[in-house]
């Protein structure tokens, strides 16, 4: 995807690719479909050793990037994970780790970051609410102040990795405005319900907060100052989503092109039919475009560029719209086998559709892009 990698970044990409190929081939991903948890903790720890959890965390707080551009590094990991429809709470854990690194108190960082970085603990970003827009105005979960803390009441849904998380970063609203709270999933009043889902290994949960008591020291960052951090968290999530989608789409396109050379109909290779050739040309256009805008978004967010807000949403709006269609077209070109359980195509489709629908869908992001333009 990214055309300008340092040798260190290439190393990161290759080690991640090698690790995934060996430890988590698609057969293994299928194996996890029926498992109670969508991923294996020991396996996740090995990934953490490769840097999957620490790239967005400052060195001061125990993390560190490969190239100095942590998000660009992490996008490489996400791309490889997309190509292998890999399990693992990549997005929520990194969003929370980054937040604690940037905004967390020393105490919070000490309490939580080491275990997140080592992979021993998992964190979930509790932001979306049922039927609400995916932005600060959508948050209704209430943080009612009491003497020395707050009481949380409300529902978050869907929460990625919510069922596996040890720590919850909860965005809530209250008299002081939008604030974030760091809550252990074991806290009294936290009710987690696993949701049914399309992706075989990336699970989501509904989490009901019923009179959950948190201390003032559990506020992450400034009380009432969560809106700007939401914007950063969203940009990070969108970049990682786009990178995963593009990684998945590129892999599917590659083996579908090969299929067109290998497979014949009416005594001619599929690749010799002009109607199909033209569709492959369109697909290549979409794929290169998706990669191009994902790289631009990654760099813009990495650099904190003034247009990062817009480019990140543009990337999600485009990649989230086109790539599922591209993969569906690949299903069509495979014929009947393409809609069978045994073929891997649906694994990719499940992943990209999950991404399409979550953290704001293309419609929401187009809407926001239009507002930014006017």
């Amino acid at each position: 995807m990214d055309l300008e990698l340092t040798s260190d970044q290439e190393l990161l990409r290759d080690t991640t690719r090698g690790f995934l190929t060996d430890s988590m081939p698609l057969s293994a991903v299928r194996g996890l479909a029926e498992a109670p948890s969508g991923f294996d903790r020991e396996w996740w720890k090995k990934g953490a050793d490769l840097g999957w959890t620490s790239l967005l965390v400052s060195e001061a707080r125990g993390g560190g990037s490969i190239s100095g551009d942590g998000l660009r590094d992490l996008a490489l990991v996400a791309e490889e994970m997309g190509a292998m429809v890999s399990p693992g709470p990549l997005i929520p854990t990194n969003v929370v780790a980054q937040t604690l690194s940037v905004e967390g108190s020393g105490d919070q960082a000490e309490r939580v970051l080491p275990s997140l970085l080592s992979g021993d603990a998992i964190a979930a970003w509790c932001i979306a609410e049922p039927g609400r827009p995916f932005d600060p105005t959508g948050v209704t979960l209430l943080a009612e102040p009491e003497r020395d803390g707050f009481v949380l009441d409300g529902v978050k849904l869907p929460v990625e990795a919510g069922g596996e998380a040890d720590w919850l970063l909860v965005t809530a609203t209250g008299p002081d405005g939008l604030s974030q709270f760091l809550v252990p999933s074991s806290a009294p009043g936290v009710h987690v319900t696993e949701l049914r889902g399309l992706d075989l290994v990336r699970r989501n949960a509904a989490i009901r907060f019923e009179g959950v008591r948190v201390a003032a020291s559990d506020v992450v960052g400034e009380l009432g100052g969560a809106a700007p951090s939401f914007e950063r968290q969203l940009q990070t999530a969108l970049v990682l989503q786009c990178a995963e989608i593009v990684g998945a789409a590129a892999r599917v396109f590659e083996f579908t092109v090969q299929y067109a050379f290998d497979r014949s109909s009416f005594g001619r290779a599929l690749a010799s039919y002009q109607a199909l050739k033209h569709r492959f040309a369109d697909m290549l256009l979409w794929l290169e475009s998706a990669q191009a805008i994902t790289v631009d978004a990654t760099n813009a967010v990495q650099a904190g560029a003034p247009d990062a807000t817009e480019v990140a949403r543009i990337a999600k709006a485009y990649v989230g719209e086109r790539c599922p269609e591209l993969i569906q077209d690949c299903v069509q070109l495979h014929g009947g086998i393409g809609v069978t359980w045994e073929h891997d195509l649906h694994l990719y489709l499940r992943r990209v559709v999950l991404h399409r629908q979550t953290y704001g869908d293309p419609t929401e992001h187009r809407d926001r892009v239009a507002m930014l333009a006017s």
Partner: protein, 422 residues
């Protein structure tokens, strides 16, 4: 054979008398559908569906309402198409044995009428109308779904039987069917279209292994069959030996007629239940949001236009305004429509399509989206439909193919090309 469209005076029971008789009987003997899916009825599972369908069809037979447009000599009622249409009206909202509709009544029996021997017609049409035998088609093969004439499944003459070997795939619910029409190769030394035969095959017999194929949505409707020296009596060839392409082509024509709503043997026009379901699901959500209304409106527009098209093409084929191959137009339309509806559905369902609480119907929309392309693949792909429309309806030049003239034995059945890296 063709069916009379409207009744010449006096030749048949008066249409109104028929209608009155039918209404009385239907109200007394058929179960109202209620909210049940018309294509499934009140069946509790796949097996029960077969039992119910056969029982209901038997009722229709006993009451003289089976095979209204089939010839009397083979157990039908020999009535013109408008009696069938009247019956469709009358039975709307009631449970019918839809399992017999396709392929048995609309595709298989018409083909048997066209090519069967007197014995075959007597034997098989009557039994099906009596609700005793369900049929399935053995057409596609693992080597290539679209190229029917490229069949590799072989039937080799051995005394007074053909020995059937090979494999068929994408047959629907083969395991719950009784008989099949199977396209296979009986001569390898002539061009592909001239060495085929169509056999009547008893589905459940030694030498035939049926495996179910799991669909992305988890269902197991499709099957693959493996044939190992299955003996087929020579008298069970439908049509002439090596004239199978002719028979198979007719099979496809009847299929298109069924799809395009111009079949006089259909118990009920293809249900738009799926569409209305989808739209129902959409209406769950925000008709208060102008953007959602655009999608809901689009879904409604496309669905209504499709049904208008089905009617128009059906009429056009009946009146020969268009050739029978025009049946590929509604086939293409149906594919495009369902694909768009499946997409609109998840666009409106939002995150509930990918992560839902147990029992939330929105989850089905997400699962349905995974199998979205199925409607553009089954029963001839939309690509094949576009070929047929441009070549057979618009009369444009056929695609070059290098496997038409040569003996099939010499045809590369795998014509993969090297990938010349630019």
């Amino acid at each position: 054979m063709t069916v009379v469209a409207t009744a010449p005076e006096g030749l048949y029971e008066d249409l109104d008398v028929f209608r009155a008789r039918a209404i009385r009987w239907v109200e007394a003997n058929l179960e109202p559908l209620g909210s049940a899916d018309p294509s499934v009825g009140h069946a509790t599972d796949d097996t029960d569906q077969v039992v119910r369908a056969k029982a209901i069809q038997r009722k229709l037979w006993d009451a003289g309402f089976a095979g209204l447009c089939y010839p009397v000599e083979y157990g039908g009622q020999g009535l013109p198409a408008d009696y069938q249409n009247a019956f469709i009206e009358i039975t709307r909202g009631y449970e019918l044995p839809m399992l017999f509709n396709t392929p048995t009544f609309t595709i298989i029996l018409p083909t048997i009428l066209d090519f069967g021997t007197e014995e075959q017609k007597q034997r098989f049409i009557r039994a099906a109308l009596r609700g005793e035998e369900l049929w399935v088609q053995f057409l596609s093969e693992p080597s290539g779904g679209s190229d029917l004439a490229g069949a590799l499944t072989r039937a080799d003459r051995d005394g007074d039987v053909f020995l059937l070997n090979g494999s068929k795939i994408w047959s629907t619910y083969a395991w719950r069917s009784d008989y099949a029409l199977c396209v296979c190769r009986t001569d390898w030394d002539v061009p592909k279209h001239r060495g085929l035969s169509v056999l009547i095959v008893k589905v459940h017999q030694p030498g035939i292994t049926i495996t179910q194929i799991k669909h992305v949505d988890g269902t197991e409707e499709f099957c693959q069959e493996f044939f190992d020296d299955v003996p087929i009596p020579v008298e069970d060839v439908l049509g002439q030996v090596n004239d199978g392409w002719n028979v198979a082509s007719r099979l496809l024509l009847h299929e298109r007629a069924a799809v395009s709503g111009s079949s006089p043997y259909a118990m009920r026009p293809r249900t738009t239940r799926h569409e209305s379901d989808q739209i129902g699901a959409l209406l769950l959500s925000g008709a208060d949001d102008r953007q959602a209304r655009q999608l809901i409106g689009e879904a409604r527009v496309l669905t209504r236009v499709h049904s208008a098209l089905v009617g128009r093409i059906g009429t056009s084929i009946r009146t020969s305004r268009l050739p029978a191959e025009a049946g590929s137009i509604p086939r293409l339309s149906n594919g495009m429509l369902r694909v768009r509806l499946a997409t609109i559905a998840i666009e409106i369902a939002g995150t509930r399509a990918v992560a839902w609480q147990e029992g939330d119907p929105a989850g089905n929309l997400g699962v349905a989206y995974l199998g979205r392309q199925g409607v553009c693949l089954g029963g001839g792909t939309t690509e094949i439909a576009r070929n047929i429309i441009s070549e057979r309806v618009l009369g444009m030049p056929r695609e070059p193919a290098d496997d038409r003239a040569r003996p099939f034995r010499e045809v590369r059945t795998n014509a993969s090309v090297p990938r010349n890296r630019a």
